[in-house]
């Protein structure tokens, strides 16, 4: 199964995941690089939680999955200030 909650991953999906990770890192304090490999098993939940946090904040259906509406929202022009501050 993919390392993050996705259906079957292809090239463009990989890009979407990378884009989403960067988005969540920038605006929701999601730290991917710092997660030690041994904990990679944990990261799907971490990513899922962050996706849910973003979907909740921006009024999307909270699925924890990188679905189309979530990706669309991530591509919308926006302010560079994070949505949540650690």
């Amino acid at each position: 199964s993919g390392a993050v909650p996705l259906t079957n991953s292809t090239g463009s999906e990989e890009n979407d995941v990378l884009f989403a990770e960067r988005y969540l890192e920038t605006f929701y304090g999601f730290v991917m690089d710092g997660v030690p490999v041994t904990k990679m098993k944990v990261s799907p939940n971490l990513m899922k939680n962050k996706l849910q946090e973003m979907q909740q904040f921006l009024g999307l259906k909270v699925t924890g999955r990188l679905d189309a509406s979530t990706l669309d929202m991530m591509h919308m022009p926006r302010c560079g200030v994070p949505d949540v501050h650690e």
């Binding site: 921006l58 022009p77 926006r78 302010c79 200030v81």
Partner: protein, 370 residues
Amino acid sequence: FRTLAGRPVWRKRFLTYRINSYTPDMKPADVDYAIQKAFQVWSDVTPLKFRKIHSGEADIMIGFASGAHGDFNPFDGRGGIIAHAFGPGPGIGGDTHFDEAETWTANYRGTNLFLVAVHELGHSLGLGHSSDPKAIMFPTYSYVDPNTFRLSSDDVRGIQSLYGGPERRQPPSHPDSTESATCNPILSLDAATTVGNKIIFFKDRYFGWRNPESPKSNISLISSFWPNLPSGIQAAYEIGDRNQVFFFKDDKYWVISNLRPQRLYPKNVRSLGFPNFVEKIDAAVFNPLLYKTYFFVGSQYWRYDERRQLMDPGYPKFITKAFPGIGPKIDAVYYNNRHYYFFQGSVVSEYDVLSHRVTKRLKHDIKLGC
């Protein structure tokens, strides 16, 4: 709403700002105007006052930049991140940066600078992002007409949680202070017009605005909203589908388009086709059904064809003849929903433009916000 982490706020009420770089997408004057209006959105609902300086270090430095531009947050090219700002504090605190890779405009095309500036200045004052999609502090950009833009209640609650509401006006300390000039219920108006969904009344150096159905009106100085207009506006009218508002004083007139003053004004009213003896216009109103504007001067009126941009022949005519029950002279008039509202002293007459008769007459108690 959210405030920024640590809830940073400005401890002072008077803040300076400086625009230290401009975008080539817009005229510098349009950038100045958009930023000034954006600050005004926040000063209208708080005790804060903002002053523009042209050199040295301001509390809020504003600029346009591309890519890496000296702070920790490089811009990412067109789309994506369009701007960012820093919360209140020294140095970079309060500063606002716009991504030059966007196309900045004063309208619906590209990215509207006024709207993004309102958002970013919210951060400069200490607001974080709101999860209310109606709030200007919602993280993503979406266009709304700047003419009718209003802060959402969430935005207002957020900023007032940091700074409180606008200071109450000083008690009347001299005869022409706000209250005494406008609390007099027999106020005879200078002029009236619609602007968007608001009705605007003019008296001396003040103007008030309200929604057609609500008795509550607010007051402000004409100069605070339209610095290029004189006090004592005598007539005004709006051509809604052109987003234009015309203001008249003595033999001159000004045009505001999309809430922005138009260059090359004031012009002389004679350029509209008035004869030399017309020194001032008492009242004016645009009829969107006929696409004609009526100008009232003394006991007579002219009719102007806004499409042909010419005065109609056969004028002037007497007001009392064409508008039974109205006149002989009027102070002000505005059009709303198939009716004219004529103001004469403390009386306002509702006049049906199709049946050509007065349908209602009442005392107006416009106090322009005591």
